[in-house]
Amino acid sequence: METFQSARRDFLWRIGSAAGAAWITAQWPGILAAAQHAHAAAKANPAPVFEVLTPDHAKEIEALSSAIIPSDELPGAREAGVVYFIDRALKTFAADAQPVYEQGLAHLRKMTSEMFPGVERFSAATLQQQEKLLAKLDEESQSGGRPGRRLGGASNMSFAETLRFHTLAGFLVDPEAGGNRDYVGWNVIGRDPAHSFSPPFGFYDKDYPGWQPASPETETK
């Protein structure tokens, strides 16, 4: 949580320097309230109890999300607390996806024992078996809806698509939204958690001399 607090502090400080005193005086209480709210939300989550998922389902979902974003030398879905994010999602914004999960998990269980007799559940399968099971799930989902570019969300998303979307969300959304615990997801992809930035932003704009009109020799048209 320390990272989160210091990111917010840095944000407030930079706004102050960018905006000047008048703006900060006018907006300070509002900004502070937002920061406190976000901090409380981050602190309250992940709760170590599941509100919707049964322990059994939680174990399967953790194994599934971990197969989507595995833990290797860098943290994965497990370390980001994705299963807790999904539990909260199924209670809040994705409550109507509960049957999708229930049916999907039941289907997966059946598929697991059919494809690998003697293996009862996804979480008990070997890595290679998990790969094959995910491939099969994904293949089946190709006929279903997929979310759009703007995350508009198709209403008929399959279990595989829903699970993948929720796993990625739990790994990568701002911790304000209850995922990406301690910014582990952002650390993996290289997203600095600060709330404000100054140029240069990266490698290519480092030595940019400022905009100039095109020189005549580059004019070909």
């Binding site: 944000f11 930079r14 706004i15 960018a18 905006a19 000047g20 008048a22 703006w23 006018a26 907006q27 209480p29 509002g30 937002a34 197969a67 989507i68 974003i69 595995p70 290797d72 999602a89 914004f93 994705a94 995910l134 994904d138 979310p147 570019r149 703007r150 995350l151 969300g153 209403s155 993948r164 990625l168 969300a169 790994f171 990568l172 959304v173 701002d174 304000e176 939204a177 997801g185 992809i189 290289g190 997203r191 600095d192 709330h195 404000s196 930035f197 100054s198 140029p199 932003f201 990266g202 490698f203 290519y204 704009d205 940019y208 905009w211 095109a214 580059t218 004019e219 070909t220 048209k221």
Partner: protein, 560 residues
């Protein structure tokens, strides 16, 4: 001096009721109230401010914090008028005080001269309602300048050789260049094009009560926490409220415009937050509800005197929907750009603004911009090369490698006006208030598909010239989702072929005015908001002049 905020009782007849508080509604509220009129702005959505804005994608995208929620206000879609429309969230617009200007990208290109006279120049295009505007670029120029200075647009005048004439430079310098902008400039110049700093409705310098952009990166799709994005909320709405004559009333869903026996409007009927119905009385009504909700409201307001919908004697209310065609190309580079920082766009070129129709075999044109507009989650869903595994070690590795090294080139282009592309009322589906749902009928004109595919190929060449090590572009598919809601109550001199006159007055009802994306006659090149606001400033001047000479109610009219 700041006045106390005013409130009016609905039974109190004000001068103007404005429906919608977005790009156009905000400007009209500010102009009409500072000109001395009493104004009520009715906004469907909530009144959020900077303190309510968040980087929480679940809140913003999944829970539709800033936009219409298709669960409560369903939309149906079909490609042609002979099909039955199916439930499909095919329209998105801002639904909060400030409208779509709260969450937009803030690309602020002016239209060019050609956009107003293109029909005369290239001739008829069969199967379309392609026509010239009744006003010219020169008529709008002073208002474009007014937009730039009043709300705050950053840019560099004279940097693009294709720019139309302007009376004043930008009020502030461009925003910082991003890695995508530098690479775009490099590639485009190698190919002989003329990239320039993007004109953006985002502050590069602070203004009273507003911070300069802090480059937080949660820009497109989000409300600005520091007031740097020049939304109606952060600019004109506040000026309007400070006059002490304008009340902005949120959570008011207008479902009917009331009329009297003389064929004049008397006010707007709306549901409040508790679903109680009120009539806000007014001498005149200005509808700025966007190119989907404005025609829907006119159609919902049908009555005995106006059986086909209000102001619809032409039958064109809802017709000629032009959502702008577009395409996108992605490139991955060797070194980190960290393009997630800052607003989406920093460089543009307009070399293709006016393509040679005879040479290429299709009409139209557009502009290309260099951008990165993905949140981390959106990137994981849609930002990786198409052959990347969808899960597992390799997927994770691609995320790690590409998130900081990817950029996009977005091609923004024209849509032709086709009458069978339109908004209408769905005969079966109702929204959560029991009102007929919006129905969208749309199929791209083949010309637009060809043109945008051509532009996407040029974008790939620019990425190549910039040194991209991987590049790809999704196939061009027919659009089934619209955010640019243009052309659906078009402006014109002839009441038979247009809905409003050049004063934004409806041809049929003298004290009913429309101003928003629906007023547009052509679609421009994919960046309509600047023009919508320039039209709104101009409309406010025209309406003020009519009101001052006591001409709001107009001559006696016959309802058709």
């Amino acid at each position: 001096m700041t006045q106390a905020k005013v409130t009016y009782r609905p039974s109190h007849e004000v001068d103007f009721v404005i429906i919608g508080s977005g790009a156009a509604g905000g400007v009209l509220a500010k102009e009409l109230s500072t000109n001395g009129f009493r104004v009520v702005v009715l906004e469907q959505g909530p009144y959020l401010t900077e303190a309510d804005f968040t980087h929480d994608e679940i809140e913003v995208f999944n829970n539709h914090k800033l936009t219409n929620n298709p669960k409560r206000q369903p939309v149906t879609f079909r490609k042609t008028e002979s099909e039955k429309a199916v439930l499909q969230p095919s329209v998105m617009y801002g639904r909060c005080v400030g409208g779509s200007s709260v969450h937009f990208t803030a690309n602020y290109w002016r239209f060019h001269e050609i956009d107003f006279i293109e029909r005369s120049k290239v001739g008829d295009i069969p199967g379309t309602g392609f026509t010239d505007w009744p006003i010219s670029y020169a008529d709008l120029e002073p208002y474009y300048t007014k937009v730039e200075w009043e709300i705050g647009v950053s840019g560099l005048a004279g940097a693009s050789p294709f720019d139309p004439p302007r009376s004043k430079p930008y009020p502030m310098p461009p925003l910082p260049v991003k890695g995508s902008g530098v690479l775009f400039e490099r590639g485009a110049r190698k190919l002989g094009y003329h990239p320039f700093p993007a004109p953006m409705a985002i502050l590069s310098q602070p203004r009273p009560g507003r911070s300069a952009c802090v480059n937080c990166g949660f820009c497109l799709g989000f409300g600005c926490e520091v007031g740097a994005k020049s939304s109606s909320l952060a600019t004109v709405i506040r000026v309007a409220e400070r006059t002490g004559r304008c009340e902005v009333r949120p959570n008011c869903y207008v479902h009917q415009i009331a009329t009297d026996t003389n064929g004049r409007v008397t006010g707007a009927m709306y549901f409040d937050a508790h679903r109680n119905t009120h009539l806000q009385k007014a001498k005149a009504v200005v509808v700025c509800a966007n190119g989907a909700e404005t025609p829907r409201l006119l159609l919902l307001s049908a009555n005995k005197a106006f059986p086909n919908g209000l102001a619809n004697s032409s039958g064109l209310v809802g017709k000629y929907l032009m959502p702008n065609s577009s395409a996108i190309a992605h490139g991955v580079f060797d070194e980190p750009l960290n393009d997630y920082k800052g607003p989406a766009v920093s460089r543009v070129f307009h070399d293709f603004y006016e393509l040679d129709a005879t040479k290429l075999g299709f009409y139209g044109g557009g502009g290309l911009d260099a951008r990165f507009d993905f949140t981390p989650l959106a990137f994981a869903m849609n930002g990786l090369p198409p052959d990347t595994p969808r899960w597992g070690k390799e997927f994770k590795k691609a995320l790690k490698q590409n998130f900081t090294r990817t950029m996009e080139i977005f091609c923004h282009a024209t849509s032709l006006p086709v009458a069978s592309n339109n908004f209408s009322l769905d005969p079966d589906v109702k929204d959560a208030w029991g009102l007929p749902a919006l129905r969208m009928t749309f199929k791209d004109h083949p010309n637009d598909m060809k043109m945008v595919a051509w532009m996407a190929d040029r974008a790939m060449e620019v990425l190549d010239a910039a040194g991209a090590k991987t590049k790809w572009r999704p196939p061009i598919t027919e659009q089934q989702f619209a955010v640019h809601l243009l052309g659906t109550c078009r402006m014109g001199n002839d009441p038979k072929t247009s809905v409003i006159n050049p004063d934004h007055r409806t041809h049929d009802v003298p004290n009913l005015f429309l101003c928003d994306g629906s007023s547009l006659v052509t679609s421009g090149r994919g960046q309509p908001t600047m023009t919508i606001q320039a039209l709104a400033y101009r409309a406010a001047d025209r309406i003020t002049a009519l009101a001052k000479r006591g001409d709001l109610a107009g001559p006696a009219v016959h309802a058709t």
